[in-house]
């Protein structure tokens, strides 16, 4: 029984992708987890993984072809169910970049993003020469081009979010003292490679809480809300030159801190190289954004559809804090929750944030 490998939707903001390269050929036996193809999306090149052991019968799409989500890319033989998440199969409605076929091929080879590139050819089409000129000039230019495409993707997804999701917000300031003390002690005796970043604690505390509050962890689709069986925690990662992507740390609630740290490190690196794996690019069930050292008190996030909640952490700042009736200087952290009112209400949101706070107060238990 052959079945189709379709272009999966790797995010709510993805409705098409360009097949860059096949890593398999007809007749290839592929094992679960093996990379079958590279697909270029607005968020960079993503590895298309095989989810079941299969044999490739036929490749249906030529490299260089831009196809809609849900398009069959290859025929696979094997007993298993379809290899990847199947998208809607909707037509690409976004206007295509006007570029000559030769320019498209060269752009792929040179790693130049066509989006946002000013074409000088007939009808304003991007030509070979345009691509080569861009490739010759500083690397900053294609990044800017790429960033423009990413910006467009973010714009589309966030607009949809604000259009469709009735957001509500809950805020809570958390005493980060216990966590900071624990972390300082933990890192003090370890070489740089084994140290933890504060972000790991925030992620783990959130993931653990999410397991107890499944109404914030899942997807809202045409069929309504369905909570996820796992906690794949999306991490908003800022890209240099602008833009943000939010790939997932898979099963974040089940992994010890010492494992989460290198996974987070790898995730950031892949995101910034524009080379995320398909399994992590689109699977987040709940997302966290952390502003780190930027000095903001708090951040009110916009939910990534089809998720139903997002946690935002401001910077850890020293602030006066009342302890046992006295004012002390403490490192504090502004935590915010944006959540989907179609699924939960503010009271539940406050409980969810409180549970995160509790987790951070006992970091040794994380």
């Amino acid at each position: 029984m052959s079945r189709e490998l379709r272009l999966p939707s790797l995010g709510a903001d993805m409705d098409a992708g360009t097949l860059v390269e096949w890593r398999v050929r007809p007749g290839s036996r592929v094992r679960k987890g093996e990379v079958m193809a590279l697909v270029e999306t607005d968020k960079g090149i993503i590895d298309l993984e095989c989810f079941e052991d299969s044999t490739v019968e036929r490749l249906l799409v030529e490299p260089g072809t831009r196809v809609a989500v849900g398009t069959a890319l290859a025929l696979l033989a094997g007993e298993a169910a379809p290899a990847t998440q199947v998208g809607s199969g909707a037509e690409v409605t976004a206007p295509a970049v006007r570029a000559s076929p030769a320019a498209r091929v060269r752009a792929r080879v040179l790693g130049v993003a066509l989006e946002g590139l000013a074409g000088t050819g007939l009808g304003g089409a991007v030509t070979l020469e345009d691509v080569e000129r861009v490739a010759r000039t500083a690397a900053a230019v294609p990044v800017a081009g790429k960033a423009a495409g990413l910006r467009a993707a973010i714009a589309a997804a966030m607009s949809r979010s604000k259009r469709e999701i009735p957001h509500y917000y809950v805020q809570l300031t958390i005493d980060f003292g216990p966590a900071a003390a624990w972390l300082g002690a933990y890192n003090a005796h370890r070489p740089p490679l084994e140290r933890l970043l504060p972000a790991v604690l925030l992620l783990k505390a959130t993931a653990t809480a999410a397991r107890e509050f499944p109404a914030f962890n899942g997807f809202y689709t045409a069929q309504g809300f369905e909570s996820a069986a796992v906690v794949n925690l999306g991490v908003a990662i800022a890209l240099r030159g602008g833009g943000v992507v939010a790939p997932a740390l898979l099963d974040a609630d089940r992994k010890p801190l010492a494992q989460l740290m290198p996974e987070l490190q790898g995730l950031v690196e892949r995101a910034r190289r524009g080379h995320l794996r398909s399994g992590e690019a689109a699977s987040a069930t709940l997302t966290v954004t952390s502003l780190g050292e930027e000095g903001a008190d708090a951040v009110l996030p916009v939910i990534h559809p089809p998720q139903v909640a997002m946690i935002g952490f401001g910077s850890v700042l020293e602030r006066p804090w009342v302890v046992d009736g006295r004012i002390e200087v403490r490192p504090v952290l502004g935590a915010s929750l944006a959540a989907d009112h179609r699924v939960t209400d503010g009271r539940q949101g406050a409980q969810f944030l409180a549970r995160i706070r509790d987790g951070l107060s006992k970091p040794e238990a994380l």
Binding site: P191, L193, R240, Q265, E293
Partner: protein, 88 residues
């Protein structure tokens, strides 16, 4: 040996952030300002310094890694400190 240390630090910097052009790094401007360095970059930078130069920068000194000149000066001191301690 400063020149050599500086070029090694620059190499580590571009390893951590491949999109940084070593020729364009301003020595006295904070990395955060120049190329959006964040805590993960600092972490990676510290890991790379440890691996390549054998210098373990403690977490409390991470702020010393915030610009090229500051970083080179810090690592220079750290090397001297290490050499002298090992020679005694």
């Amino acid at each position: 040996m400063t020149g050599s240390l500086e070029s090694r630090v620059l190499a580590l910097l571009t390893e951590v952030a491949p999109d940084v052009d070593a020729a364009l790094v301003l020595p006295d401007v904070d990395f955060r300002e120049q190329f959006d360095f964040d805590s993960m970059d600092v972490y990676n930078f510290a890991v790379a310094i440890h691996r390549a130069l054998g210098i373990d920068v403690p977490e409390r000194d991470y702020r010393e890694l915030s610009s090229l000149s500051r970083c080179v000066a810090y690592l220079e001191r750290a090397r001297i400190a290490r050499t002298s301690s090992s020679s005694t």
